[in-house]
Symmetry: C2
Subunit: 237 residues, 2 copies
């Protein structure tokens, strides 16, 4: 996805047999897919910079140096464009959950692995669209899809939290609220990560995870410097 020169697997594999009469048409199909993705990426960038409502399809077309009907040739309407960006943003997170399910490790480690991917996804070029795809902006059908996908993520986090509380790797907590807190913190990355790209998505995720993991209260099992003296563990009330 970093450059357009990434041919999707099957088409590239069958490229050698040039005698097929369908070669050209398959190539065109692949070209079309590449262009379609370019449109979606251009939309994502525009939404990033100016927001969904402040981006016109003329803007997107201009960024691609084509005209508006060309954009409409690849996507049916603006709403679908947002939806595609959303899916592109959220898919890596779903993949992270599938991956985590195969890990044989305590739930806290599996959760951390998911959150790492989550953070990277939010900091990616589709992060903004994923995070900010509002049900208010979309017709009921798409809104339903998006809600379902978001809920899937949310439930996945809650499940990992519950599993962690069972296997003892996670401190007892309210899974719902905790999942909201974790996801919220990570989602919010999309709001401030546009201009200041001083850190990579992975680095941000790592920093956040370390906060989530140990919390604000100092631990006497000092693993860093710090000298909590007159304030030891829990102070008031």
């Amino acid at each position: 996805m970093s450059q357009e020169g990434s041919p999707c697997g099957p088409a590239a594999a069958r490229a050698p047999l040039r005698e097929s009469p369908w070669r050209a048409s398959r190539e065109r199909l692949r070209d079309r897919q590449v262009k379609r993705e370019a449109v979606i990426r251009a939309a994502a960038h525009a939404f990033n910079r100016k927001g969904y409502h402040n981006t016109s399809l003329d803007d997107i077309a201009a960024a691609l140096e084509v005209s508006k009907p060309t954009v409409y040739y690849y996507v049916s309407n603006k709403e679908q464009l947002l939806f595609e960006c959303f899916v592109a943003g959220i898919e890596p997170i779903r993949a992270a959950f599938r991956e985590a399910r195969l890990m044989k490790a305590p739930a806290r480690e599996r959760l951390k692995a998911v959150l790492r991917h989550y953070g990277r996804a939010v900091a990616s070029e589709f992060g903004w669209c994923m995070v900010r795809a509002e049900d208010q902006d979309l017709a009921p059908a798409m809104s339903g899809h998006i809600k379902a996908l978001k809920s899937e993520i949310d439930q996945g986090i809650r499940r990992l939290l519950r599993e962690g509380m069972q296997d003892g790797s996670i401190h007892p907590c309210d899974p719902k609220m905790t999942a909201f807190a974790l996801a919220g913190a990570l989602n919010w990355i999309a709001h401030w990560y546009r201009d200041s790209h001083s850190l990579s998505g992975a680095e941000i995720a790592e920093a956040f995870i370390s906060v989530f993991e140990s919390g604000l209260t100092p631990r006497q099992s000092a693993e860093s410097a710090g000298a909590p003296r007159h304030v030891s563990a829990r102070l008031a009330r």
Copy 2:
């Protein structure tokens, strides 16, 4: 702000002297202020439900059972309406910082106090507007104001974190990233708190704070139930 019957101080104080020829005009002025606030609250509610861009001024006028020019009689334009909602949302947080500055307690407690107010503010009727007031949607002037106010909050949190690390009440951490994580989690409340009002803003803030405070990793200084056994402190890497 909870009801319209809250007369601002000075006007109410001078109400007894009815002989003043300016009484009527002052009363009208107060009425005007009350109505203006009603307009702003109506706007906030509409923005809550449908978002800024999907709310027309006709909608707001209809909600107030007046016509559009009436709305324009109290505010100069839509953008200013959003700005007023933003300020109404963020002001309690600024107040919380001022209040915290007077507290004589470890920084972690002062921070918690601020975060409690923060959470309540985000869950308030202006929370959505405060959180979602985009610089992209506003002219440079207002955008600058908003950015400054947001930055003020951010810097305030960072300062409390640093102070906490100095007085030993807060675990060593990167103040910038940690502030982002805290504010992000709380900001995100505005996204899911619209429909499901099962918890109050204060309750949510409390739940979040307990997550931030102790983190996910179980502590052997068990203050809750739970039996972290085979996984004691820090597991891998």
